[in-house]
């Protein structure tokens, strides 16, 4: 990649992040912004907490509770950023009607989509921090800030956000060709990851055939590494055989495959959309 391309791509990310932030934060209404970015994710975490308390008779000081709480907190990134990136296509095409002007500009759509997702990443980061702090202070989740493996947390987070970006781009490619199914698609895909990636339970309890799916999804390793970094351990028997280094390596390899697959899907669907005239086609859904 030439220097000018890097510079151009960084500029695209900066611009679309700025645009995404302006739209997400909606400066005109800070109250709504607060609800959306902070209160909502905490409320959804609490739903899970209360469900767990009902089932276990109020026991929150268990390893499983910490496993579920931390997994669920970090999974907010998957839902929010995946949705944030892929939904850009629908918003820019149907609501703002700007997609054709963005599309014909000399920028790479990947970077534009990534930039738009960055705003969601920032907002979600606040939400995750608040959710974990809430868990530590109120629910006594055993996170010892002095013992957190920060290098592992940082590297895992960076790779994880790249994974979610690849998934977002992949879905954005599909969304170029879809209309009112877009919402269900994102919900559905996020639901599959929630089910298969060990977000709120170890993958060991899944049927064997579903565990195969779990093992090819980089998000499974991402969540495992995050738990190890924050809690110092995890509960998955299957993944316990791997060291942090081995898990990181597996995550990087599966991420590389995901990145290639995502690129291929986006390019293919983009080409099909150009062939059928769908890039800027208003469906009014």
């Amino acid at each position: 990649m030439k220097y000018s391309s890097i510079k151009d791509n960084l500029r695209t990310i900066k611009l679309s992040s700025w645009l995404g932030w302006a739209m997400e934060s909606n400066w005109a209404d800070p109250f709504l912004f607060a609800i959306y970015s902070v209160i909502r994710p905490i409320a959804s975490s609490l739903i899970l907490v209360f469900m767990y308390m009902v089932v276990t008779g109020g026991k929150t000081k268990t390893e499983l509770f910490a496993y579920i709480y931390i997994g669920n907190a970090f999974f907010m990134y998957v839902y929010n950023v995946l949705f944030g990136i892929s939904w850009v296509i629908h918003e820019d095409r149907e609501h703002y009607q700007t997609i054709k002007y963005i599309y014909i500009a000399p920028i790479r759509m990947y970077y534009y989509l990534f930039g738009r997702g960055t705003a969601k990443m920032i907002i979600t980061t606040f939400a995750v921090i608040i959710a974990i702090a809430f868990g530590m202070v109120i629910l006594k989740i055993p996170v010892d800030l002095g013992k957190v493996n920060y290098p592992l947390l940082l590297v895992s987070m960076l790779v994880g956000l790249f994974i979610i970006t690849c998934l977002g781009v992949l879905l954005a490619g599909v969304m170029i060709l879809t209309a009112h199914h877009s919402w269900y698609l994102t919900e559905g895909i996020a639901g599959i990851f929630f089910l298969a990636c060990g977000a709120i339970y170890p993958i060991d309890i899944l049927p064997i055939w579903l565990q195969y799916l779990s093992k090819i999804l980089p998000l499974t390793y991402w969540l495992e590494l995050l738990r190890r970094a924050v809690l110092g351990k995890s509960l998955s028997v299957t993944l316990s055989y791997y060291s942090n280094f081995q898990l990181m390596l597996i995550m990087l390899v599966t991420t590389a495959f995901l990145a290639m697959f995502s690129h291929y899907i986006y390019r293919t669907f983009d080409h099909i959309a150009r062939r059928y005239g769908r890039i800027d086609q208003l469906t009014n859904y």
Partner: protein, 332 residues
């Protein structure tokens, strides 16, 4: 410089599949462009004139890399739009009329700045350019207004500036004055003319179904109907081609039935009409072989009991050229 031509198309075709419900009476394909071959020179303000659904927007979409052709070739500055869309995008921009696009949360200035940044134009230059363009299009007082609060006319003006802000080599204007009021349309046309005059190497491809707009702005134009280019020349040459014919406009009371019979009158080469409901009148437009044929026309009108309100022999306009080629008016 890659080519002497800003735009070249060769046997360009584009068809669309109809949805199931509409397939019943045909093969399910609609031809939007039918072997279109055109060349537009650099520095030209070239017009595509045709009724709604003629294929103008389809051609612009192909040239701006939004749509792939079914067959044929399309080159922009000598670059194939199918094979190298990313190279084409560095040279072009586009404005589409009659829409209300934009991020409502951003101000006019922020929007223009953002789009210019996608083209990598330094902020210092952009600031001056935005100020200059807002002034020229009388939009200075709206610079800090959020787009969501702009009227549709002002939004369209801002979109026009967005098209010009990156100073593209080739600009596609698709019905840029559609839905605008008279004064704003005039401002926009004035601006387009000025830009082309000041930038002699820049090219504009303008689609319109407003005859006067095409006549006023274009160096050359192509008349397009049902996906086919019927003729391509300068407006003056096109009008000259009708000089030997006699062009008459006759106003009668509102006449809605049996209009086709005028086509059968001996010596009538082409005929079109335009209902003016607000006046309760119909304007009949005839292209005749010679002046003497007018008596046949007035005779037919008398037989029908239609009273002639005005009758005038007129200089051929682009609309008459269109009528002579297509056999109907643009609004019919």
């Amino acid at each position: 410089m890659l080519s002497d031509f800003a735009v070249e198309t060769l046997d360009l075709c584009r068809s669309f599949k109809l949805k199931k419900a509409k397939k019943e009476n045909n093969d399910g394909l609609v031809t939007a462009l039918d072997n279109v071959s055109l060349t537009i020179r650099k520095g030209e303000l070239f017009g595509l004139l045709g009724p709604n659904g003629a294929g103008k927007t389809t051609l612009i979409k192909i040239l701006s890399t939004l749509l792939l052709p079914t067959s044929g070739k399309a080159l922009v500055d000598g670059i194939d739009v199918v094979r190298h869309p990313e190279k084409v995008r560095k040279r072009i921009n586009m404005v589409t009329g009659g829409e209300t696009s934009g991020y409502g949360i951003l101000t006019v200035r922020e929007t223009l700045w953002m789009f210019s940044q996608f083209y990598g134009i330094p902020t210092r230059i952009v600031r001056e350019r935005i100020d200059h363009m807002l002034k020229l299009l009388d939009m200075e007082k709206f610079a800090r207004t959020k787009i969501g609060k702009l009227s549709s006319g002002m939004r369209q003006k801002m979109n026009i500036i967005r098209g010009f802000i990156c100073d593209p080599e080739i600009l596609f204007l698709d019905e840029p004055t559609l839905g605008l009021d008279v004064q704003i349309s005039r401002d926009v046309r004035k601006y387009i003319k000025r830009w082309v005059k000041e930038n002699t190497k820049k090219t504009v491809l303008l689609t319109t179904h407003y005859m006067a707009e095409a006549d006023e702005l274009c160096d050359r134009l192509a008349i397009i109907d049902q996906g086919k280019v019927l003729i391509c020349d300068s407006p003056s040459n096109l009008k000259k081609s009708l000089k030997r014919d006699a062009v008459f406009h006759i106003e009668v009371g509102l006449l809605t039935d049996g209009l086709d019979r005028f086509k059968a009158v001996s010596g009538v080469k082409s005929f079109a009409y335009e209902h003016r409901h607000h006046l309760g009148r119909t304007l009949l437009k005839f292209i005749l072989e010679d002046d003497s044929v007018i008596s046949n026309v007035t005779g037919t009108l008398s037989q029908n009991g239609s009273k002639i309100i005005t009758l005038s022999k007129v200089e051929p306009t682009l609309e008459d050229v269109f009528v002579s080629l297509v056999g109907k008016g643009l609004e019919q």
